[in-house]
Symmetry: C2
Subunit: 388 residues, 2 copies
């Protein structure tokens, strides 16, 4: 048992990281790319376990068809890079940004790529780096493609991260009472989770770890991204909408619930039921082979039939990964089928201006024959009436 | 007096924001641009006071020569945008990312720009947005240029943010004792500062507010970015190097000191003196008209003469602004003169592998006839021997 716990709290080892690189290189061959350049810190983290701050000193990963990837880094960060990276890398160090003529990051970077090379670059690459990149450039997101399907190691890490959210949500329901402010609840929940994470996760990275545990009370829960007043107080009744989410050592996960303090206004019963039904409908369809855009279409059709379509503000779900918000999407217009190893949020929601918001969200893994929720908290209306 | 305090803790008003926009438009005219497009969340915050998360749903600001700038935003964030923006904006809302055909962000975005328009785009723009941008595109960083010179309103905000760092550093020196871990110190300092910020700053934005208060003990202070072990303990002696820094309602500021617990190893006396001398040299030169790259060259020359040049890991300083790390740079190879209203860190440092790091850093404003430190903490060796 200890072994199992170890494996999901450790940093990725060389085998895990070289497996990821292998998949990138297979796609490079398919697309006839000599070089792939990654500048996106999220993709660099995925391949190296090094997470850089985004600032003016560039970090650039240059992947050829063979040998260790070349990593262009500033001198100041060389030791930090060595501490974190779990794979073989050919470090090329530039002294500073900016630097004296001939010693700038682009002097090193451009010397790595031949003028006639076919070079894959990311959609997230900035113009500054793009303009400095030699070769015949093609925009293609091969690392993002590979990230869509989680490895077993990753599934273990996300499972752990979701367990932390479960603990956080338990604590949230315990402390959420009328009169409590959003900021108090957030402080309690995030501290509760972080204390566990920092003692359990081996060499976890503080740069990609942050936890939120917030609740929108009924007076604002119809406006799902309104966190402008941290002193907003909880109220008797509901719907309150909780968000326990964040990034735990690079795993961006979420767990959200619609709940009530003490009592349920009568007007809230139907929208709660409709939200739950929409959710069931999404879960039933979510399995390998299902068209992800069509799941959202089916949910919207159901909302339309129930008379709530004009109260929908967002898609049914989004991919879960390092950023917590990425492909694949359960959204009309997204054209891809579900595959085992994908991870998504399932969160159809409706928002009623004078009543509040109705949304549960879980972090969900697509398996060989269906799906499984990695997060867990009460779901039914009865279980979500919190007595205080 | 109350008036004064109010003005530096309030969000920017319409006059402040339209003044910034005016400067952008003046540069647009100079460069013959019909349109300027901003995608960088930092530049968007500068012009609108709205700070977006960076995620898959794009926020794009399209500035023409006249009228309210157009802001392309996802439906879900419309109310959040309205809450935060302190200026007139023409909001254009897309339903979701992705969306059904004809309703995606790029459908709205591309309709805003004529094919023959001359369009300025940022170095930080991603390829995805760039490729979707119509017109005759020119990479030019006009907003970043304007950000180089702070307005009086901004100077007030940064002054307030620096006062918060001063409090944090006072607390840090109070609690830093042998045996204390980095994480304990950070928790105490950041909580101390945040408690004040959240009660004093009107409508402060939690999305661009974070505080760090860390110390590298002598065993690792020679490696300035090594924060990989949060349980690292403080030690008797020194040099310890503190960093109290972060972003306070969008002001990225810093205050750092080299200090000693109880006693100073004899070997530390000379490098401390050399660091202080390098610092004096930089401060003496830092005034309007001074070539910023040459200040770093002068500091390096002095380090060379003192026999420490091979122990230098970074430039003399960097610009202070929303990100905390941006132009202008006190760095060899940077070719620009100092101007009143620029804000920089001054932090020449040397790093001795078996002894530790030596660096003070302050947030410094360039004035009409010199410079003034906005941060404040003990500076001399005597004042930085902390008895416990």
């Amino acid at each position: 048992m200890q072994m199992k716990i170890d494996s999901i709290t450790a940093a990725p080892n060389e085998k895990e990281l070289s497996g990821r690189l292998e998949k990138i290189r297979r796609r490079m061959v398919e697309q006839d790319l000599d070089i792939y350049v990654s500048y996106d810190p999220v993709n660099i983290f995925y391949l190296t376990n090094f997470f850089n701050y985004v600032h003016e000193r560039p970090f650039i990963l240059v992947i050829g068809q063979e040998g260790a990837p070349v990593f262009v880094v500033p001198q100041l960060e060389k030791s930090h890079v060595r501490h974190r990276t779990g794979c073989e890398l050919d470090l090329r160090v530039y002294p500073e940004y900016p630097a004296p003529e001939g010693k700038n990051w682009y002097d090193i970077y451009t010397s790595l790529i031949e003028e006639n090379a076919k070079v894959g670059v990311e959609s997230a690459m900035t113009l500054e780096i793009y303009d400095a990149t030699p070769g015949n450039k093609v925009r293609t997101d091969v690392i993002n493609e590979v990230r869509l399907i989680k490895t077993n190691f990753e599934i273990g890490k996300y499972f752990y991260a979701c367990q932390m959210l479960n603990l956080g949500h338990e604590k949230l329901l315990e402390v959420c009472r009328p009169g409590k402010t959003m900021i108090e609840i957030n402080n309690t929940v995030s501290h509760h989770v972080m204390s566990k994470v920092i003692t359990e996760l081996q060499a976890f990275n503080v740069l990609n770890t942050k936890i939120y545990g917030v609740v929108s009370p009924p007076s604002i829960s119809d406006d799902p991204h309104n966190f402008t007043n941290l002193f907003q107080m909880m109220e008797e009744g509901g719907p309150h909408v909780s968000i326990v989410a964040g990034q735990i050592d690079g795993c961006g996960v979420e767990l959200e619930r619609t709940f009530f303090l003490g009592s349920v206004p009568e007007a809230a019963e139907t929208p709660f039921k409709v939200m739950m039904e929409a959710r069931n409908l999404a879960y039933d369809r979510l399995k390998p082979g299902a068209h992800l855009g069509e799941i959202d279409v089916a949910v919207k059709k159901y909302f339309d039939k129930s008379g709530y379509l004009d109260k929908v503000l967002h898609r049914t779900g989004h991919g879960i990964g390092i950023t917590g918000h990425e492909a694949p999407f359960l959204a009309e217009g997204y054209n891809r089928e579900a595959e085992p190893g994908m991870m998504v949020s399932v969160e159809p929601g409706i928002y009623l201006p004078d009543l509040g918001g109705f949304r549960h969200s879980d972090t969900v893994l697509i398996t060989e024959d269906g799906n499984v929720k990695l997060t867990s908290a009460p779901e039914s209306l009865e279980d979500l009436i919190i007595n205080f």
